[in-house]
Symmetry: C2
Subunit: 326 residues, 2 copies
C-alpha cells in the first residue's frame, strides 16, 4: 500500500533528477541541437543541481543513417567530450540505448574509456531478455544502468509483474515506470508505483518515473510517484519532448526542497535558448490531439502528424482515431 | 482522513460540472465575447452535458463603468435571455457576485423573474459575514447558492476552519475550495478537501473545487479532490482564465465516466471559436511567470503585466517578485 515518504518541508536525499531534454526533445527536432545550445544546457543543469543529463541515444549507425539526424541520435563519446571538456562537475552523463537499435558491444566502450556514466536501456515488455543482455553488458563495462519498460499501459498486469521480477533479478540499478502515451491518472500512477516499489524493495533497486504530458499530468504524476517513494525523476526543460512533451524541469525544481536544486539557472536557459526553438517553429506541449491519444491509450504519432499538417479539425481526428489508430 | 469515493470505471451521480469560461475567461478579454460566441458555447455546453454555465459577474454598475467592459461583467437578465431564448434545456445558469462589488438587493431579482439559477458569492476570509448576507438574500429570492472563499493559501488554518463553520451554518448549498494563486500541490488539495468535506458532512453541504493552472496542476488537483468526494467541479474551455488559466474542461470531460458527459461538442467549439481568440492575441495558460507567482503564493497580476509587456527575462522577474510582490 502507498505510504507517504517525506513531506512538503523536508527533502529526500535519495531523489535524483535526470534532465532528458536532448533525448526526448531530440525527437522534436531530429536531434539538431547546436553545440552552443548543448553546452549551455550542460552548464545550466550543473548550476541547477541536476544529477544526470541525458545526451541522447546510442543508436546503431548501421541502422540509422548519420546524415539523417543530429549527432545526439548517436552520442559518440568524442562528441560528448567536446561539450564537457574543461568543465569540472560531478553531474553524471546518461545515454539511452534502445533494445534492437543499439550495437552495444561495439559502441558502448568500457566505462573508464568513456565520458558516459549511465546506460539507460529502453525496452518493450517482449524484449526484456534482450534488455537484460544489454544491462549485464553495460554493468560489466562499469556503468550505472537503468531500464525503461515502455508502453506499459498496453501490457497486462500479470505479464508486467513477471517482467519486473526478471529485471529486478538482473544487475540493473533503477527500473523506470514510463507512461509512454500519457494515459495514466495520478491514482493509477500511485498504484503502479506501489507495484514497482514492492519489487524494488525485495531486490534493493530504485524506481524512477518518466511521465508524458498528454493530459497535463506529467508533473502531477511525477510528484505523486515521488511522494510515495519513487526516487529517479525524469524531466525536460520547458517540457520539451515528443508530442505533448514531458514533466517540466522548471516545475519539478520549484517543487523539490533539497537546497542543491535551483530553478533560476534553468529559467535563464529558457530565456536565452529555449524560447528561440519555439519561435523557430518547433511544436511540442499539451494540446487536444495529444489529449485524445492519451485518453485512447495510443501512440502520439497520429497527433504529431495532425499538428504538423496544420489541422485543427479535432472532431474529425477523434473519429479517425476511433476508426484506425486503436 | 481522505477516503476514496468512486473508482475509475464507475461514475458518481453527485458530480456537477460548471463551465466558467465566460467568467474566468472574461478576465482575459475584459468580457468582450460576441453573442455568437456565447450562444455557441451555451449550445456546446448543453450537448456536452455540462450542469451549470457561468455567464459572468453581476457587477455593480455604480462601481464599474458599463462602457469599460463587455456585457458579461454585468450579466443583465435581458442579455442572458437574448442568448438562451428558443433553446430548451435543463442546464442551469450561474453568475458570480463579488462581496462589495454587487448591488445584490437591486440587481438580483427574485428567481422566478430571472433566467439565472445559481448565485455564486465570492468572498475573502475577512468578508464572510457580508457573504452570508448575500447568500441569505439569494436564498430568500429562490436561488441555488455557492460560496468561493478566495486566496485561502494566505489564510491561517484556524481562521479558515472558523470561516467554513460559519458558512456551513448558513443557507449556502455548496462551498468551494479555491486555489486562487495556483499554489497548492495535490497532497495539499487532498488535505484541504478533507477539511472542507468534514465541515460539509456535518451540515449536509456539498464541496466544490476551482483550481488554477500556474503549476500545471489545475486538472490534477480537480480530479484528486473529486476522487475523495468533492462534487462541484469548475473548468473552462481550453483552460481560458486569468493568468495561467483554469482546469481544462476538455481534460475533465475526458476523465468523467458518466455517459451524459461528452467531450466532442467542446472540441468542436474549440476548433470553431476558441482557436481564433488565441490567434487574435489573447494570452492565457501556464508559463514560467505564473509558475513563479504560484510557487511564491502571490497574485498573478505582476506575471500578467510581465507577459503583456512582452518580457522574457524570467530571472529578473523572479528577483522583482522576491523584492516587491510578496
Amino acid at each position: 500500500m502507498a505510504t507517504k515518504n517525506g513531506d512538503l518541508v523536508s527533502f529526500r536525499p535519495d531523489i535524483k533528477v535526470l534532465d532528458a531534454t536532448l533525448r526526448d526533445g531530440g525527437l522534436v527536432n531530429n536531434f539538431q541541437f547546436s553545440d552552443d545550445f548543448v553546452r549551455a544546457l550542460y552548464q545550466a543543469n550543473i548550476l541547477a543541481g541536476v544529477d544526470y543529463m541525458e545526451f541522447g541515444y546510442k543508436a546503431d549507425r548501421d541502422i540509422f543513417n548519420e546524415s539523417d539526424f543530429g549527432k545526439w541520435k548517436f552520442c559518440k563519446d568524442e562528441d560528448i567530450r567536446k561539450i564537457t571538456q574543461g568543465i569540472d562537475t560531478d553531474m553524471k552523463i546518461a545515454v539511452m540505448a534502445d533494445v534492437g537499435r543499439t550495437n552495444f558491444r561495439r559502441d558502448i566502450l568500457p566505462k573508464e574509456e568513456s565520458p558516459i556514466d549511465m546506460i539507460r536501456v529502453a525496452t518493450y515488455i517482449n524484449s526484456i531478455p534482450a534488455a537484460i543482455e544489454m544491462i549485464e553488458d553495460a554493468k560489466r563495462k562499469g556503468y550505472e544502468t537503468t531500464v525503461n519498460i515502455m508502453a506499459v499501459s498496453k501490457v497486462n498486469l500479470d505479464e508486467l509483474k513477471d517482467g519486473l521480477r526478471h529485471l529486478a533479478a538482473s544487475s540493473v540499478d533503477v527500473i523506470y515506470l514510463v507512461d509512454s502515451f500519457g494515459v495514466f491518472y495520478p491514482e493509477q500512477i500511485v498504484r503502479l508505483s506501489d507495484m514497482y516499489l514492492e519489487v524494488a524493495a525485495a531486490f534493493n533497486k530504485q524506481i524512477g518515473i518518466h511521465a508524458h504530458n498528454n493530459q497535463q499530468l506529467a508533473f502531477a504524476n511525477t510528484i505523486q510517484a515521488l511522494t510515495i517513494g519513487v526516487s529517479y525523476l525524469d524531466a525536460t526543460v520547458n517540457g520539451m519532448g515528443r508530442g505533448a512533451g514531458n514533466c517540466y524541469l522548471e516545475n519539478l525544481l520549484g517543487f523539490l526542497r533539497n537546497p542543491k536544486y535551483r530553478l533560476t539557472p534553468i529559467m535563464k536557459f529558457v530565456q536565452d535558448y529555449m524560447l528561440k526553438l519555439k519561435q523557430d517553429g518547433l511544436i511540442w506541449g499539451p494540446d487536444i490531439p495529444y489529449l485524445l491519444t492519451g485518453i485512447l491509450n495510443t501512440h502520439p504519432s497520429s497527433a504529431i502528424k495532425f499538428l504538423k499538417d496544420g489541422r485543427t479539425d479535432y472532431t474529425a481526428f477523434e473519429q479517425e482515431l476511433l476508426d484506425n489508430a486503436l
